[in-house]
């Protein structure tokens, strides 16, 4: 028996869950696309994860400060892209972190401390104290690969969610001309605080997961790379944009950036739409568009 559309499947990957919905694809084709996506995301996780003990990134982090580490072309591209974003966000998007900084040790590192040698295909840390963390980059990068796979299979309409913080909406909902995707209330899942219309576009939300009026992970703060302070967590930034990576990077950068830098940062990402939701401790929310 042929299972009628919509096709849906999901798996656990990159520390979260991945959902694929193909509204007008039959199961056999859907399964084929899904398998390819899963293989690609598994591959990327083994490459980019800071948490897997045998990932390529773990190796780079372990030896990058000692001597240049030989890497493949994809790593060169990834790290150069991170460098470009570091510059275009006025250093608010920074994939380097200082694992041993404490309360009074807000020493800054900066992505420019990653020395990339394109000819030798090596990476080297200029500052021995740094490590690379692709947390704000990996899902966006993976989403671009997902988008490639979908296009390769000539899939025109798709809704992809990567941990709900990264969403790709290809084409349209079967009953509309686009997709209508809501941003959920931080403490009250299922309640939309804002709706984006998406067509061949991405959406990304930065913030900390909440539950029942409480933040779930108070100690998982995002760090402002400019001054090293943890940022206020009772807010989310949601971005809509054409490119998955832009969307991901911009939401992360705007989440940690000081207000006076926002306009400058945003000017480097024309066509993006950004909203900020600010919550009170009681869960009252105010929405403002960032322009």
């Amino acid at each position: 028996m042929i299972k009628e559309p919509p096709y849906h499947n999901h798996f656990a990957g990159m520390g979260t869950r991945f959902d694929l919905v193909l509204p007008d694809t039959y199961r056999s084709n859907g399964d084929e696309v899904f398998r390819q996506i899963k293989v690609e995301i598994d591959r990327l996780e083994k490459k980019l994860s800071r948490f897997l003990p045998d990932s390529e990134l773990t190796y780079i982090n372990q030896f990058g400060a000692l001597s240049p580490v030989k890497v493949d072309q994809e790593w060169i591209t990834i790290l150069e892209t991170c460098r470009k974003y570091y510059i275009s966000t006025y250093s608010c998007f920074d994939v380097t972190l200082q694992p041993d900084f404490g309360k009074d040790q807000n020493k800054l590192s900066g992505a420019d401390n990653i020395i990339i040698d394109k000819n030798d295909e090596t990476v080297h840390f200029a500052d021995p104290g740094i490590k690379i963390d692709l947390g704000g980059f990996g899902k966006g990068y993976a989403m671009e690969r997902v988008s490639d796979i979908l296009r390769l299979h000539d899939i025109k309409n798709a809704l992809v969610s990567f941990g709900e913080s990264s969403i790709l909406a290809l084409g349209k909902h079967p009953c509309g001309n686009h997709w209508k995707i809501g941003v959920q209330h931080l403490f009250r899942p299922g309640e939309n605080i804002f709706v984006f219309d998406l067509k061949d576009e991405n959406m990304s939300t930065s913030g900390m997961p909440g539950k029942n009026g409480k933040l779930r992970y108070r100690n998982h703060a995002l760090i402002n790379p400019v001054n090293g302070h943890p940022v206020n967590m009772l807010r989310t930034i949601s971005v809509k944009s054409r490119k998955a990576l832009d969307t991901e990077v911009l939401s992360t950068a705007l989440y940690v950036s000081p207000p006076d830098k926002r306009k400058k940062i945003l000017s480097g990402f024309p066509g993006s739409e950004v909203i900020e939701a600010v919550y009170t401790d009681e869960g009252k929310v105010s929405i403002l568009a960032i322009k």
């Binding site: 999901h10 913080s165 909902h173 995707i181 709706v195």
Partner: protein, 425 residues
């Protein structure tokens, strides 16, 4: 049992029949389908009834008698026990309507009897079962099958030689929750099973009150090696059966250790046992039981790369997180042609830690008892139709053999491999 209880019970069976799927019902669980369609108010003619004698009316036997009172298709025609207190109780439960015997051989001489239920101490199962099968009676014998492996084999051989039914009291095999769980496992919901754990913990001395010292071994037969292998035959065999059933294999090797470390009251069997069973495909069952702590209770845990099952709790836990709720909302909308904003976007979802993963119930509704009444109803069905699933005895046999070999492994402090002559197909 009043009428509304009967109906809800029948509804339960019917619902369970529906969810276990018709293909399964048709092949291996015909009794369930029959029960679902049974009319509880129908007056049964004597020819519709199964005439049963019960041998051994101690704690288990009297519980079975009480259950049988709830089953209209059973007529208890005889009871038998050689301990006066139990003999009197059996007569009382049956309102003196059943013939009462002290010697089971006399009971087996009755011609107006279709089947017997044997709930004696373990060491008496084999010869009574064999005599009963030879006398033309169908048999439901309590687990474990026998005190020594050779007797278990002799019981199987006599069952096959006479063609009379031999059912063993592994009631979980008749519990819809377990049947559904096995269906999930066979469908690959856990992936290939890679690890199994089971345990049964109680905190009591496992003794029955003895009116006179000379009755100690008769009453507390579970505590003496001559009559029982203690925790292995009385508790573990149930759970080993479940593990074998889940894996679809039988263990061929066992190692173990046990001791009497708390109830040092003259008993001979261990008050704690710890074993590792190895199956041909390389999966292990880790088993332990003790009677000096009840905190962890009892459970069978079946694990595979895709998920975990806790069968006593009736729960299944997926290794894969559930899809995002917003995605399910979206799929529902697409299926109903609704174009609406779905709540999806948010801060990155992080999986629950294992302790927060509450799992899902295998069956929405559970049985009130542990399957004992269903096991009796299934037996009635088999007797009426003179047919039983041939796999049943194989399952029961290997559960008993595994329990007995486990006991030997502990006693002899060595790894025991099942001998070729004890293997059956």
């Amino acid at each position: 049992m009043n009428k509304s209880e009967k109906q809800s019970r029948r509804e339960f069976i019917r619902n369970a029949s529906l969810i276990t799927g018709t293909s399964v019902i048709a092949s291996s669980l015909p009794w369930m389908n029959a029960l679902a369609n049974e009319n509880p108010d129908k007056k049964l003619s004597p020819s519709d009834k199964v005439r049963i004698g019960i041998i051994g009316v101690g704690s288990r036997g009297s519980l079975l008698l009480l259950h049988m009172k709830n089953i209209p298709a059973i007529e208890v025609t005889a009871v038998c026990d050689n301990y006066p207190t139990h003999f009197a109780r059996a007569k009382q439960i049956t309102d003196n309507r059943a013939k009462a015997f002290v010697d089971y051989r006399k009971l087996l001489e009755m011609n107006d009897m279709d089947a017997v239920i044997i709930a004696t101490p373990l060491h008496e199962h084999a010869h009574i079962t064999i005599d009963a099968l030879q006398s033309g009676k169908h048999v439901l014998c309590e687990k474990s099958m026998a005190r020594i492996p050779e007797d278990c084999l002799a019981m199987v051989n006599m069952h096959r030689e006479t063609g009379n039914i031999l059912q063993i009291g592994h009631q979980r095999m008749f519990n819809p929750k377990y049947i559904k769980a096995m269906e999930f496992i066979k469908a690959g919901k856990l992936g290939n099973i890679t690890q199994m754990r089971a345990f049964w913990h109680r905190n009591n001395d496992w003794r029955r009150a003895v009116p006179a010292p000379e009755l100690e071994k008769k009453i507390n037969w579970r505590l003496y090696k001559e009559f029982s292998c203690g925790l292995m035959t009385e508790l573990a065999s149930h759970q080993i059966q479940v593990a074998n059933w889940a894996l679809g294999e039988f263990p061929d090797k066992v190692m173990g250790a046990g001791s009497i470390n708390y109830w040092k009251d003259g008993r001979e069997v261990h008050d704690n046992v710890n074993l590792v069973y190895t199956y041909p495909g390389g999966t292990q069952l880790i088993y332990d039981s003790c009677i000096s702590n009840k905190h962890y209770g009892f459970e069978e845990q079946i694990m595979g790369p895709k998920g975990t099952m806790e069968l006593e709790a009736g729960k299944i836990y997926s290794e894969t997180p559930p899809p995002a709720p917003g995605i399910l909302h979206l799929i529902n909308n697409i299926e109903h042609k609704i174009f609406d904003a779905i709540p999806l976007g948010g801060a990155s979802w992080i999986p629950d830690t294992p302790s927060k993963n509450k799992g899902e119930y295998i069956l929405a509704e559970d049985l009130e008892d542990d399957g004992t009444q269903l096991e009796l109803e299934a037996f009635v069905y088999s007797v009426k139709n003179n047919k039983i699933d041939p796999d049943h005895i194989i399952q029961a046999y290997y559960a008993s053999i595994a329990a007995l070999l486990g006991f030997m492994a502990i006693e002899e402090e060595r790894v025991i491999t099942i001998p070729e002559e004890l293997k059956i197909v």
